[in-house]
Symmetry: C2
Subunit: 791 residues, 2 copies
């Protein structure tokens, strides 16, 4: 299963990643590797307070530093029209604070120096007179009538309330609940976590004072969107901005947003006339860039006594920190929160989400979760287990009884979404078979006899990925259709230009395979260009598992355009009618006369040659397309986790993890499995150790990898992967996207396993992360919240 | 006439050149400005002999130089598959000589060192044991039976003959000559000249050993053609070659070819694993890069006694040097030599061209002459004056009598070409009116009375430009259709990508104006990208005045595609039928309701937005096209030159120059005039001073600007420009191309003027350049050849 073939000639299959030739040799080119002649270095001064008034800023000592060229404050920015940070949101954020600081780590000033060390030294020389203000770090307290108003800079804002969103039919749902035999409720927290990519954020801005052209090397998952945002919000002329995202060391949604540091590198280059590099350190990254989750949820589930689930009712309090920034447009997360109904055939469902400001870092983000789907799946899968607890039902059987059936697809949910395809029972049954579910339950029973704590957690998820359909979303007035451009050179070598941008997912391989599959070209002959707005068509970037569903579709379609055009050229070369040709692997050949045919390479040369083409047929062999998907795609999966819990310490050992994923057609199974491996590890981390916690004063308690724990191979079992394949009916190659599936599906499988292990102790629910302390507390009747260091 | 308006909002007209913002501030970026980290420097060892056997090469002393990294000879190259230089010809040239050297300056070895100075020093340390061979520097001697065979490396080559080409109907022409009342013959030489751009040739090759991708910064007029040639001939994979031509300091055809230095920088980068720069010095450039002309012509003209020209008969011996390299494919110059019939309505014409090898630098090139048109026009315009001399006719009147008439267009020549449009008599009359022709003749007569030598030279030319039509040419199996790609960003800013490459012509302005004219966008909002094969569509480059005729047409057409698509988007925005919309300057508006309309900027944002487009209409606002012109375009012009000749010294003073050009529609008249100014100066130079001469041993006598003289402002009068406008009927905007017109038309006007001045001395013809010595010789019955330092 994990054997890797040497590069196949063409098409789909296991093949070594093209990008790894450079990446594994240390020859990748990341933002911090960019060194331009005369380049200067910037560093940010950040607030030590979570909430404080700024009485004054004295930059004179920093400016006197012999290697410092400029010190910039928020006042400087006003004159440049760059005082407010471009966001993809209706909210805005000051690039540098002027009146107040509103979270610990907020950007206050920017120093530009000849070298990085001097810049950091000079930051320490800036004197800010802060007047501390009362802090609200807790979402529920922030909603209280007497809470300090954090965003008093916003006109008409008299409390900390941001928005109310609603999904589903409330009256219908209330009626179902009123008549249900069983109703169970639970308060469930998905704590704040941080995506924590290996590479922090950074940028090098190079504003050419002569041509007025800005080149910005930046850690962006969405280079085109960034360019358009700079153009629309900051007023820079769009054709004079080139955004280059070179190799990126992980994104996971964290690198979708625009951060003050990016803007400051641009401002620095404008002010000094030289390139300016800004790269944050780990603490800065963990403290100030986009977090994820922080959802305080109350779930209610209605069912019959024999376990038929009837409805769901959900209330969410969403902590968005001090600014509702980054990829959070008005209609969007609410839209995605429609999938809180999970993988089950319900009679009714209703959900409300209330957003709230707190004195914490902003930017609730799509951390490998397609905009809040992780929270939704966690909620519903936890609630199903809560129901199983009350009904004393087997969690796998309870799920099997309620899953949407294959014949119900396309399935319209109670919130109006149309799941495209699936065979859910098959996936769950495969996972149970692989796990040896019945044997595991026997083993568990035997261990319980002996007082040992073994748990079996089950989770089923449906993801909604492939952001694109116009009916579903609209960011900044921009749709989410993505372009693809394919050029076949005279010698038959191909260059594909795509709008999406890999942060490690392997686009250079996967997309070459899609072209190779359509045209019969060797993968090695196909160059994939991405991450440079000057060289690629518009599109909204890589996030929400949208690369294959959207750009992958565009790639297949643009290759088919080439194939269609090649047919006409071949017919002119062979002097036959196009109708007499058939496609055979890598060439057009004459029907019934396989001796007569032309490969794409031969056709490419002819299309650039003096061959007379039919009237109206243009020369060369290039094509472009823009793909606007008709619907999202809906990958799904069934996960089973087996854990052993140490009664004495509360320590959890993940013994086995069985993951059956159905992401439609797999282009490169090796890459798919790599994505799943990463997401599963992520899930173990979130379930057991990851949390961004704060104290009462809003102090950030997870600003290093000593405090913010990530899982290592020691915490992870050898993953057991299975697959079913239900192609998406509306995607050109039937692919669905898989980047986030395991992150969505795995946390609840782990949590359900731990709670299953400690069920004998009468614990129905405990919140993540289930650290040894939290598990020990649950076992000993002393539940604790690990997200807040508040007594 | 020469006032420059500030940048107009859109479209055609006089506007400052966008590129000058950087160029006049010294902020251009030329190949020699490219400095890459770790870059090494290369230098070539060149042969001091024009013809010699290489017995041995000893590189040991050079290799021992402490800063030398490698010394490469022809033997090294064989193992790399790069021993033969890619050319656009059926002939080939060794990158580095191995068996023999065949011209002075031929490349023998390449040294790579840490700095340029060390590389040059080490070149001097290489010991080559040469055995000198007999030299043939004269084309006629090279055709002799006993001449040494220069290309004995070519299989089956037993003499110095290269090719024979023929054009026109010989029998028909002979019949016309046999019956003509007057037949006049003349031997006419167009001596070897060199384009001598300000910037010499050079390249920086950067072969990435990890990805295998070669980036070549190079002084190329034809980046795409170079890439394809490297791919086809040198076997490098085409998608792994990026050719970047940055700012270029003049080309004039000299930078069409591929030179050994370019190849050696690539080889150097492969061998060392580091970037390698090679930039030649002035002497190297003048000695070894592509020359032009060197045509030994015998013209015959047949006419009636009253001056009706009936036919032309031409024999050419073409000296191609030691290799028939660069842009000289089989059918090509012969093809273009079809225009030797000039601007006259003839009964018959016939021409043969014989190519010959000599021990001189190779690469007969399109020096601002659209492949030999300069020679053809010079020949016919000289022959008309020779006829006028014999008939004692006025040269202007004789031309007027024989010009093709406006009603004859489209006019098919006796060689089968179709001149697209023109009003020749109008142009000539305008030139005569501007000159005050009759007054000048009176002044001349008066001066002759006083023994003063004043001359009035007239020349009329028809150019054939816009290489592209498949029926006319075929290079390396590649047609000459050029792509254009236009992207309108969401904010309405535009990026145009073209295949052609400016070497100073102002493409960034002209092409932006074409887009602006079609779409109503401000020129400042349109970025023109060119000169980078990774960023632009395929096309064969800028030469032969083809940029506006071919890529200009592609640009207009791609902008119209955008306009058509914008109409559909606008109709969706305005909720009306596309048929109800009309284009008004910069927007689509509802017919009869001018309040209702959408600008391109508004449409661009909508096309990227959630606007529902009609079925089958793709999002975004991008378009591509490939333009294969149906015919060449034929600019023309009438030139009159007035000179004064000093009897004592033979010195010539160009007192006035009247140039009426008709290049169809003028996009930016200021740029057109700049092109004409340069070409006129060029013509003065060729007529009076420029020549690449050789001695009997093949020693090059023009390897510096002390020896190879270029005209300065002191030699040029204040040009008097006029224009007529006959749009090309088949070009989308009616433009014809003007880059070479003045170079084609002016030399003969000057020569005719000088010969007109000295007519009283009974001189009918003298060859260029008409240096003081040559004129003095003609006046004193001692004609000399200035092209050969052979007694």
């Amino acid at each position: 299963m994990t054997t890797v073939e040497e590069r196949p000639h063409t098409g789909f299959g296991r093949t070594l990643r093209k990008e790894d030739v450079r990446l594994v040799r240390g020859k990748g080119n990341y933002v911090d590797d960019v060194r331009l002649p005369g380049m200067l270095h910037g560093a940010l001064l950040r607030s030590p307070y979570a909430h404080a008034k700024i009485n004054s800023i004295d930059t004179s000592a920093a400016e006197a530093h012999p290697k410092v060229l400029a010190v910039i404050t928020g006042e400087t920015l006003k004159g440049l029209g760059l005082a407010w940070m471009p966001t993809l949101s209706y909210d805005v954020q000051a690039v540098l604070a002027t009146d107040k600081v509103r979270y610990q780590g907020q950007e206050v000033a920017f120093v530009i120096a000849e070298d990085h060390y001097s810049a950091r030294d000079a930051v320490e020389l800036i004197e800010v007179d802060y007047e501390p203000l009362p802090v609200v770090a807790d979402a529920k307290k922030a909603m209280a009538a007497d809470a300090p108003v954090i965003r008093d800079d916003k006109e008409g804002q008299t409390d900390n309330h941001i928005f109310d969103w609603e999904s589903g039919d409330q009256a219908e749902t209330d009626a179902v609940f009123a008549n249900a035999e069983v109703v169970v409720a639970e308060d469930i927290l998905y704590p704040r976590v941080h995506p924590a990519p290996l590479e922090t954020c950074g940028s090098v801005a190079d504003m050419d004072p002569v041509t007025g052209k800005l080149t910005l090397y930046t850690t962006s998952q969405a280079p085109h969107a960034h360019r358009t945002v700079y153009a629309l919000v900051a007023g820079l002329p769009e054709h004079k901005i080139r955004v280059i995202s070179p190799d990126i060391g992980g994104g996971f949604g964290n690198k979708v947003g625009i951060y003050p540091g990016y803007v400051m590198s641009i401002v620095g280059s404008i002010v000094t006339g030289k390139p300016v590099k800004w790269v944050e350190d780990r603490a800065e990254h963990l403290m100030s860039t986009a977090f994820a989750r922080d959802y305080h949820m109350r779930g209610e589930i209605a069912a019959t006594k024999d376990g038929k689930i009837l409805g769901l009712r959900v209330k969410v309090l969403a902590d968005h920190g001090a600014f509702n920034a980054t990829a959070q447009p008005t209609k969007f997360p609410a839209g995605f929160f429609h999938v809180f109904t999970g993988s089950y055939d319900l009679q009714a469902a209703h959900c409300t989400v209330t957003g709230v400001y707190t004195n914490k870092a902003p930017g609730g983000v799509a951390y490998a979760c397609s905009f809040r789907i992780t929270e939704a799946v966690y909620l519903v899968e936890r609630m199903v287990d809560v129901l199983a607890y009350e009904l004393k039902a087997d969690p796998a059987e309870l799920r099997m009884k309620n899953l949407i059936q294959p014949e119900q697809f396309p399935y319209t949910t109670k919130t109006g979404w149309e799941y495209d395809s699936g065979d859910y029972p098959k996936a769950l049954q495969l996972a149970m078979d692989m796990a040896g579910y019945d044997e595991l339950r026997k083993e568990q029973a035997e261990k319980r006899e002996r007082g040992e704590l073994m748990g079996i957690g089950v989770a089923f998820f449906t993801e909604a990925v492939g952001a694109g359909p116009r009916k579903h979303m609209d960011i900044l007035g921009l749709g989410m259709a993505d372009g693809a451009e394919l050029r076949i050179h005279p010698t038959g070598k191909a260059v594909l230009r795509i709008s999406v941008k890999t942060q490690g997912q392997g686009h250079e391989t996967t997309f070459a395979q899609i072209v190779g599959n359509e045209l019969g070209l060797p993968t090695a002959d196909i160059e994939v260009v991405h991450g440079d707005t000057d060289q690629t068509p518009f599109g909204l970037g890589t996030y929400g598992s949208r690369s294959t569903p959207v750009s992958g579709a565009a790639t297949a379609l643009v290759a088919r355009k080439i194939r269609d055009k090649a047919k006409i050229v071949a017919s002119a070369m062979l002097e036959v009618s196009p109708d007499d040709l058939e496609w055979e692997g890598n060439r057009w050949q004459v029907k019934g006369d396989p001796e007569q045919g032309k490969t794409i390479q031969e056709i490419a040369l002819a299309a650039h040659s003096s061959l007379e083409l039919p009237e109206g047929v243009e020369g060369h062999l290039d094509a472009t397309t823009v793909y606007n998907p008709p619907n999202l795609t809906y990958p799904f999966g069934a996960y089973i986790c087996v854990v052993d819990v140490d009664k004495g310490t509360g320590g959890v050992k993940v013994r086995r993890f069985i993951a059956v994923d159905d992401c439609g057609v797999r282009i490169n199974p090796m890459i798919v499995e790599g994505q799943v491996h990463g997401g599963l590890a992520d899930g173990v981390g979130m379930a057991l150790m990851q949390v961004i916690a704060f104290d009462e004063e809003g102090n950030h308690l997870g600003a290093s990898f000593m405090d913010y724990l990530l899982p290592t191979s020691l915490e992870c079992p050898s993953w057991e992967l299975g697959e079913t394949t239900t192609p998406s009916p509306h995607h050109p190659i039937g692919a669905k996207g898989v980047g986030e599936s395991a992150t969505v599906g795995s946390p609840c499988a782990v949590v359900n396993a731990v709670l299953d292990a400690i069920k004998p102790y009468g614990v129905r629910h405990a919140d993540m992360p289930l650290t040894p302390a939290a598990v020990w507390g649950a076992l000993n009747g002393r539940p604790i919240r690990t997200d807040l260091a508040i007594p």
